[in-house]
Symmetry: C2
Subunit: 403 residues, 2 copies
Amino acid sequence: MKTVVLKFGGTSVGNIERIKKICKIVSSYKKKKFKVLVVSSAMSGVTNDLINKSKKISDNFDTAEYDALLSSGEQISCALIAGQLNHIGIKSRSWQSWQLPIITEGPHKNARINNIVVKNLKKFLGIGGVPIITGFQGVNKDFRLTTIGRSGSDATAIMLAKFIKADECIIYTDVDGVYTTDPRDHNKAKKIKKIYYDEMLEMASLGSKVMQPSSVQDAKLNNIEIKVKSSFINKTGTSITASKKDFSNQIITGISSTKSNAKITIVGVKDRPGVAASIFEPLSKNLINVDMVVQNISLDGKETDLTFTIKSEDLKKTEKLIKQNKKISYKKLSFDRGVSKVSIIGVGMITTPGITYRMFQALASKKINILVISTSEIKISVLVSARHVKKAVAALHKEFKLD
Amino acid sequence: MKTVVLKFGGTSVGNIERIKKICKIVSSYKKKKFKVLVVSSAMSGVTNDLINKSKKISDNFDTAEYDALLSSGEQISCALIAGQLNHIGIKSRSWQSWQLPIITEGPHKNARINNIVVKNLKKFLGIGGVPIITGFQGVNKDFRLTTIGRSGSDATAIMLAKFIKADECIIYTDVDGVYTTDPRDHNKAKKIKKIYYDEMLEMASLGSKVMQPSSVQDAKLNNIEIKVKSSFINKTGTSITASKKDFSNQIITGISSTKSNAKITIVGVKDRPGVAASIFEPLSKNLINVDMVVQNISLDGKETDLTFTIKSEDLKKTEKLIKQNKKISYKKLSFDRGVSKVSIIGVGMITTPGITYRMFQALASKKINILVISTSEIKISVLVSARHVKKAVAALHKEFKLD
């Protein structure tokens, strides 16, 4: 008998009708003789409502109480799912994180799952029951509730799959899989059937919102194969799996793009050791994420130009921080709000030469100027004018035969 | 240093503004050097919303999951209270029932508190902290969440006061105390400063909605003095306390009345042993509560008339059940929808003769006809026509010097 962990996100359990619907999905696995465990997020809207309540009290709301507050959301959804399953004749019960327990370590609001005690779950599976487990939370060594940050329920499902030794871990969400590029912007986007952890990690950190990078990392570290599927329509989803060196002919798996970045160039910076650190230190302290960085080669060894990108919304703050910075001297600051990053991702590029050239050539043929380039082993990113981003993605999608 | 348990009801924590207000009450006790513990209900509306969700799934929603579902309400309110207290500089933390634990026994939805482990609460009080404890719930021996029925948070506060050996237990609610009669109907109603458990029990079971009888009974059994106060206006409330035989001159403490009862008379019932049981058995099985019962003396030993009262809304069902009942034979059924029960309550009547006479005389002087009479040690109830109930309460309020 195979064991499967099904994880349902907030929109999948967003109201009673949807809860009834996902219980039918659970039922279909039971009919196929699976041992089924469910991990659920809070009903969509509930967590935000609780966060808003805490904000009405304080922006520095006590973090331990914040976790106690937010944990109630999954308690509600899990009790409702278990109630519905019992109602339709499937033996089920909810387990709150402290009842197993799910043991976490690390700070409140951002804890990590250390262990999940599965003894009672196994017993319940043994008598044909379907355990419903609260996602996103656990208890620390002081037996206080902790939450595990954004996308926490995915992490709960992945860790549960690990500790229960599940054969499958399926993430049910409001999209039906991972696409070659954003299907809302590009009508030629295609669903990816199989993607490797590292590719998904690049996709995830480049803005594909299907899964948080930390969850993909958890799956990779524990070698848990994940499927991403829609809880609304019954279609094959996307498998996220380990690279097994059986590369297909597909070199590039997906293309991602950002919408609104800003590019900053500091012209004529006095070039001395540690100048980049002096520039970026105050930004980092203010939680401004610097993405692509290019430093021109300083020909005379005295001055250099430094270009980097940030999120558009951070531009004002960044400008202020640079102007206040007394550790650096420069000639001029210049800004460009309207830039976007376009990236091609695929493990295939490790073994296939000439990808960079093909990328640049495809963009050049459409008269798209490349402003900045950055690369990793399985990814090439270029910065282009935001007004060219759709055209760029389309050109690359065609060039790498994803259409 | 005195220890006080403060209990806040659902309306008292109904929104963030109100939570801020009750935290000022907590602060005032801290300034008076009290050791303070708080028990809170769920924010008003939250529990009903959760119940409605469960009903959308099933009217027979799994009771264990129902308790898990509803328990989330107090987790939310308690985390918010603790968050606000920390925000205004008062060291505080919330304790969910399972963290102490609060141990219950008995069935789901209707468990009873057996024990509260107060070790960690004492430690926290010792360092000046204010513990916030979830009312209405506990965990059973299987470590599953249980709820303790209507008015459960009052019971939590009273049991906590017992186990922590508190000097005071104050029930903060949306009324400012217990009144001699319903102040919405009678403008001469006065707040009672002190009322004995037994009187309060009679008041409570006769429809005064301030406290549930079971909570008053808990307080009586454990000899916990309760104060009922308003969380909205700062006024002396009502103390509910043990009878100490130091009766004041006040003979009658309060007057209660019901709004809509129905009186049923079964005329010419064949009088044989067990006939009353035969009549009431099907009513009891259908959860119809029979209140006052009068059986005429059967002069010939063959036939008798039986009169009893029920809630008006139960009249149709009751009529049907009697007509279906094949164990009894009778001549006629008669109904009176428009009746009310008026009761005077006071431990003073035990030692003061002539109260019954004064009551009947006061009603007679206003030409109010008494339909049925029933008495207990500290209570006399009469059934009158519903259109006379206001006049009757006013007359009795004056007669027993409550004006």
